[in-house]
């Protein structure tokens, strides 16, 4: 078997840009040289530009068979992300990917699925949510609990409104502060306050969460107290990454390389190791 090389760069062109919040934008991209670009929900790309190296960014869209479009939703926090923020339509990015193991798409049949997201953490979960909606007839119940500090900091507002109206998915949106006006009518409180009274049969539960690690800590602990089993919890871990291919060492959590063994982990696989907030 010939193993893939670490330097398989591709060029992507920005097709469209959408301002999600003050600091977060979504970028619709298409690959320049390839007609077909496939990836699974939860995987990520290394996005780069000459001069600022690279940053790991998850896919926020679901791959479509036979085409080369994909979306990234990016919070502006540092070198790569602030340079990308200044780019316009037709600008070009260097990417490497897709990398990593994604959400448990093979595990959804017959399940009661609970998605829990915080802030920009909804971005990596969005493709999995769309996947679940596509396979809705195979799933029992489907929930999304999404929290942000304020309604203005919620991403994918149009999706959120669509999902709120849909019968296929039950949504609970919550914020820390109550706004004067919001079309989403969110609840007030932390996501952890809205995890009870859901119609979830613990024997067929599947929970996928993505957000600040401290949020995932409290969500996981709360659910475990409610009787969920550890193996039914999946989390998206974020660590510093310089390569994405399991070599630079930065993303290690104990024996795990987040880039290659994750970024999505089953709770019991990652919990035993030190240096997490879980």
């Amino acid at each position: 078997m010939v193993m893939p090389d670490t330097l398989a760069f591709k060029t992507a062109r920005i097709v469209d840009i959408f301002q999600e919040t003050a600091e977060i934008r979504s970028y619709f991209l298409s690959l320049e040289e390839e007609e077909d670009f496939q990836f699974t929900p939860g995987q990520f790309n290394m996005l780069g530009l000459p001069g600022v190296e690279e940053a790991a960014i998850s896919f926020s869209s679901l791959a479509q068979p036979g085409n080369n479009f994909f979306m990234h939703t990016i919070a502006c926090v540092g070198n790569v992300t602030s340079l990308i923020e200044r780019m316009e339509i037709d600008g070009k990015l260097l990417i490497r990917g897709p990398f990593g193991y994604g959400w448990p798409t093979e595990e959804i049949v017959g399940k009661d699925i609970l998605l829990v997201a915080g802030g920009v953490g909804l971005a990596p979960l969005r493709p999995f949510l769309l996947y679940c909606l596509e396979k809705r007839n195979q799933i029992n119940n489907l929930y999304l609990v999404y929290g942000a500090r304020t309604p203005e900091e919620m991403v994918f507002q149009k999706d959120l409104m669509d999902w709120q109206k849909k019968e296929e998915i039950s949504t609970i949106y919550c914020v820390d502060k109550l706004p004067e006006y919001s079309s989403l009518l969110p609840n007030v409180g932390l996501v952890t306050h809205f995890l009870e009274d859901l119609q979830i049969d613990l024997s067929r539960a599947l929970v996928c969460m993505c957000g600040p690690e401290i949020m995932m800590r409290f969500v996981a602990r709360k659910l475990l107290l409610q009787g969920y089993s550890e193996k039914d919890l999946y989390l998206a871990m974020e660590r510093r990454m310089r390569c994405g291919t399991g070599h630079c060492g930065h993303c290690q959590i104990g024996a795990k390389f987040v880039c290659q063994d994750g970024p999505i982990f089953q709770y019991p696989d990652i919990k035993p190791f030190a240096d997490t907030m879980l």
Binding site: P4, F9, P50, R240, H247, H250, G254, M277
Partner: protein
Amino acid sequence: MPKDAFVIEKNQFSSWLKKLQESFQLIGPVEKEGHFVFSLIEEVNDLVMDYDTTMLGPRKFIFLPEEKICTIYQKDQGFTIKKVQDVPGQLLIGVHSCDLHAILVLDKVFLLKSFQDHNYRLRRENTLIMALNCTKVCPTCFCSSMGTGPFVELDKGFDFLLTDCGESYLIESFSEKAKDLLLPLNLPQADDSLFKKKEQLFQELKGRFIKNLDTTNLVQTLLENQDHPVWQRTAEERCLGCTNCTMVCPTCFCFNVKDKISFDLKECDRVRYWDSCQELHFAEVHGANYRSSRKARLRQFVTHKLATWVEQFGCFGCIGCGRCMYWCPTHIDLTEMAKEVQKSNFKRMREDGYA
């Protein structure tokens, strides 16, 4: 008795190396300011083959301290990538068994998981290794405990093996390339008596180790004791966070990446350089630093080398060379920390109701 084993007089060995210098860069141990270092050899006579240990292992010639990964050219809003293509053929001479094992560990990291590192593969393919059975036990080394020395007991992954027999070397070849290079020399075959002598040297040396580490259940013991007080105490009392331990470690693979842009902004060299988990910012992301304490960083070093490495790569990340403790300004010794955990296994004691 292996077939490809010969005797070479030391004089002839030197003149052979001079000949090889025409086709390879020779790298070997030389003396520098009271220490031994692996260095590019200009004069074959500079080689010091009876060295004890070097400051850095030979990893610095395969996984360079700093190296270009590629050059990115930006024009008409597009990119052209030029990867590193030409590296010199090199022969690493006098590599002790521990350091040979370290290279094989790095092979696992860079070549044998899911992606092959471009630069590492290129350099590794252009490297011949001439191993040398060690004759000196250092106060800090414990290769016999880690199963990596003092003699080479492998049969692949390298090219030649030397054993010092006084006026001559026993030279064995372990690759086709090595056989081809030895062929023109028409050397006399080594006989049984030489192998008996080699075995005798080996047994005698094995009994001389001062430092030992019992690796039975070590992985589990360390992973069960991530909150053991030894991490906190050693880190607070002695660790300066200087990164020396990971810089001199012959198996550390971590690197950081930096872009260097030309003045006209059209050309960008993407460069990588050795990085260390002992460095404060190593595990920092936006809004969090997952190893902000020295305790967490020191524990990462020790548990990586002696525990989590085994799940990742199927071997220990420590080859027992002792460099980390020798070059640590306060001589922090990972075997001592491991032994302290073994002695007072808090997890076990708690379960048994003692603590």
